[in-house]
Amino acid sequence: MSNENEIDKPQPASNNEPAAEAKAAEPKTAEAKPSEEGAEKPKPVAAKAAAAEKPAAPKKEETPPPPPEPGPYATLLGKLGFSPAPLGKDATGMEMIELKSSEFLNAAVALRDNAEAQFDLLVSVSGVDWKDRLEAVYHLYSTKTFDRLALKVTAVDEKIPSVVSVWQTADWHERETYDLFGIVFEGHPNLERILMPVDWIGHPMRKDYKVEDPRLVWNER
C-alpha cells in the first residue's frame, strides 16, 4: 500500500520518547518474554504486534525515518512553551500529538482556551495497552473551527493527570478508561468503576488480562 509508510511513521516516533519512561517504570518486562516466544509462532495476534515493534529498534539506526512534520497545533503548543511530539496524521487526516504527562494538564487548558485552538469538546478518551506502556488517547473537537485533534499521553506509573477540570466530559470517559485499563487519573473527583461491577478484579481491556473462570476461557484462544 502506498500509504503504509506514512502510517508507519508515527509508530517508531511514539516509541522513542516513552521508551525511557517505560524502562524506568519496568513493571512489564515479564510480559515481554511471552511475546518474544510468541514471535516464532505466527498465530497469536498480540504477540505479533509486539514482534513488529521489536525489530523496528535495530532498523532505526540504519535508516532513521524522517520525523513527522509538526502540524499547526503542535507548532502552537511549541510556541506556548510545551514540548509536544508531533506524530503526523492518522488515516482520517487528524493531527496527532504526543504530550508528556507532566505538562498534559496545562496543555489541555491551553488547547481549550487559546484563540487559535478552541478545542472545547472532548469527544472521547481511549486507553491503549501497548504491552510495555499504557497510553490514553484524547480526541478533541472544536465547535468553533470544527477541527479535530488527537492527544496521546503515556501513563507514568499508570498515572495520568485528570482533565475533568478542563472538560467535564472526561469524568465518565476517564472512569471508563480506569475501569477497563487501570490508568489512574490523578485529581479525578470520583474515580470508580463505571462499566464493570464494583467488585471486579483486574482491568479487562489490558492485553495481559486473563479470565480465571474456565467457562470463559474460550475467548482466549
Binding site: 502510517i7 504486534a49 492518522d90 488515516a91 472545547d120 488517547v137 480526541h139 466530559t169 462499566l195 479487562p204
Partner: protein, 407 residues
C-alpha cells in the same frame, strides 16, 4: 408535618427511619423500570416530589464489544457491531467500515456512498420515530407510539428488502456494500418518503397543540449551550440549545456536501425544542434521501442491469457504478498498520470509532465513542431541583439508548 409517624415494626426497612418526615427518600429507579429505556439505574434522592440529587449507574448492558474486537478478525467482528447501538446500526457499521477503508486506502464508489447515505438517513428516521413514540409514552400519551411504530415498520420493510434483516443489518463491507439494491428498491423508498411527511404533519397536529404536552415540555430541562459542550453533549440535544453543530455540515463525510439540507437549531434549549428539532430532522432526512435518489449514480438497479445486459460499456465499467471499490477476500483480509478515528452524526450525536490496526487480521484496539454515553452524563445536573415527573420528560428528550452507553 410536626407529628412523628412511627411505622410498624415490620415496615422498618433499610431506608425507613423512625422520623420519616425528616429524611429524604432515596428511590432506586431501575435497572428494571418502564421508562429507563433499557437497564439504567438512577439513584435518586427525593424530597417529596423534588429531585435533590441523582446518580446514574450504568454498565448493566456491558457486553465488552471492545474486547471482542481483539479476539476476532475484522470481518468476524462486523456482525456484532449491530448490537452496539441497535436502533441505528447503519451508523455503527459506517464508522467501523470507514475506519478500515481509510486505513487501507480503499476508494469507495460513488454508488455505494449514495446507498450508504440513503440507508443511514432512513435509519435516522426510524431511530427518531422510535424516540418520538417512547418520548410521548414517557409523558403518558400511549397512542403516538403505535403510530410511530407503524411508520417505522414501513422503513423496516425497505431494510428487509435491501439487507435481509430488520434491525441487525450487517450490510456494509470494506469498500462497498454486500449487494446492490434490489430492482425497484428506489421506487419503494420514494413511495415511503412521499408518504412520511404527511404522517409527520399528523403527529405534529396531534402533539404540538396539546396544552398538557406543552406544559410538560416548554421550559423544562433547560440546557445551557456552554454546559452542554462541557459535558460533551452532541446531536439534537446540543442543537436544541442553539449550537448548529452537525457533522454532516461541518465535517462532511460521504457525499453530504453534494446534497442540500438544513440543520434545525433550537433556541430555548428545553425539551420542546429538542422534540421540535428531531421532528424537523426527520423532514430534512427525507429531503436528503430524495436528492440521493435523484443523484444515484447508475440509477435504479433495474435500469443499470438493463444497460449492462445491452452491453453498455459505461454501465459495465464505470467505477462509480460498482458496489465495491476493491475486491477483498474477507477471510484472509489483513488491514494495513495504522489508526483512524471516524466520527459521524448519528441520530444521537457524535458516534465515533477509534481503531488501531497492527497488520494482523484483528484490530489491535477498537474504541466505541457512543453519543449516549456523554449525553447521559448531563442528566444529573439537568435534574437537580426539578420535579420527579420531569425526569421522564428530560431523560426522554436527551434520547439515550443504553446499549450505546454500556457497549
Amino acid at each position: 408535618m410536626a407529628t412523628t409517624i412511627t411505622p410498624p415494626e415490620t415496615a422498618q426497612g433499610v431506608y425507613f427511619e423512625k422520623d420519616i418526615d425528616t429524611n429524604d427518600m432515596v428511590v432506586n429507579i431501575g435497572p428494571q423500570h418502564p421508562s429507563t429505556h433499557g437497564v439504567l439505574r438512577l439513584i435518586t434522592t427525593l424530597d417529596g416530589e423534588l429531585v435533590k440529587s441523582m446518580e446514574p449507574v450504568i454498565g448493566y448492558l456491558h457486553r465488552s464489544k471492545e474486547k471482542m474486537a481483539e479476539s476476532r478478525s475484522l470481518f468476524q467482528y462486523q456482525p456484532t457491531i449491530d448490537r452496539v447501538e441497535y436502533l441505528s446500526s447503519f451508523f455503527d457499521h459506517y464508522v467501523f467500515v470507514s475506519n478500515v477503508e481509510k486505513i487501507c486506502d480503499i476508494q469507495v464508489p460513488k454508488r455505494v456512498q449514495y446507498i450508504r447515505m440513503i440507508t443511514m438517513e432512513l435509519n435516522r428516521i426510524t431511530s427518531h420515530l422510535l424516540w418520538f413514540g417512547t418520548f410521548l409514552l414517557d409523558l403518558g400519551a400511549t397512542s403516538p407510539m403505535f403510530y410511530a411504530f407503524r411508520d417505522r415498520e414501513k422503513i423496516f420493510k425497505l431494510f428487509e428488502d435491501l439487507t435481509g434483516a430488520r434491525m441487525m443489518y450487517n450490510y456494509y463491507r470494506f469498500g462497498g456494500v454486500i449487494a446492490d439494491m434490489p430492482e425497484g428498491w428506489l421506487d419503494k423508498v420514494r413511495l415511503v418518503i412521499d408518504d412520511l411527511p404527511k404522517r409527520f404533519d399528523e403527529y405534529e397536529a396531534l402533539v404540538n397543540k396539546n396544552p398538557i404536552f406543552l406544559d410538560r415540555t416548554i421550559g423544562v430541562g433547560y440546557l445551557d449551550p456552554q454546559q452542554a459542550i462541557q459535558y460533551g453533549v452532541t446531536g439534537p440535544t446540543l442543537r436544541g440549545s442553539g449550537i448548529a453543530l452537525d457533522q454532516r455540515k461541518t465535517n462532511p463525510y460521504l457525499c453530504y456536501d453534494e446534497v442540500e439540507f438544513d440543520v434545525p437549531v433550537g433556541k430555548n434549549g428545553d425539551c420542546y425544542d429538542r422534540y421540535k428539532i428531531r421532528v424537523q430532522e426527520m423532514r430534512e432526512s427525507i429531503r436528503i434521501i430524495r436528492q440521493c435518489i435523484e443523484k444515484m449514480p447508475g440509477g435504479d438497479t433495474a435500469e443499470l442491469n438493463r444497460r449492462r445486459k445491452a452491453g453498455d460499456e459505461d454501465a459495465l465499467n464505470n467505477p462509480d457504478y460498482q458496489i465495491t471499490g476493491k475486491k477483498i477476500n474477507l477471510i484472509t483480509f489483513k488491514p494495513n498498520k495504522g489508526e483512524a478515528f471516524t466520527t459521524v452524526e448519528s441520530p444521537r450525536g457524535f458516534l465515533g470509532c477509534y481503531m488501531i490496526t497492527d497488520g494482523t487480521p484483528k484490530a489491535y484496539r477498537v474504541k466505541w465513542r457512543g453519543a449516549s454515553f456523554s449525553n447521559l452524563s448531563i442528566l444529573p445536573p439537568l435534574m437537580e431541583g426539578r420535579l420527579f415527573p420531569d425526569l421522564m420528560a428530560i431523560f426522554g428528550s436527551i434520547d439515550v439508548i443504553l446499549p450505546e452507553v454500556d457497549r
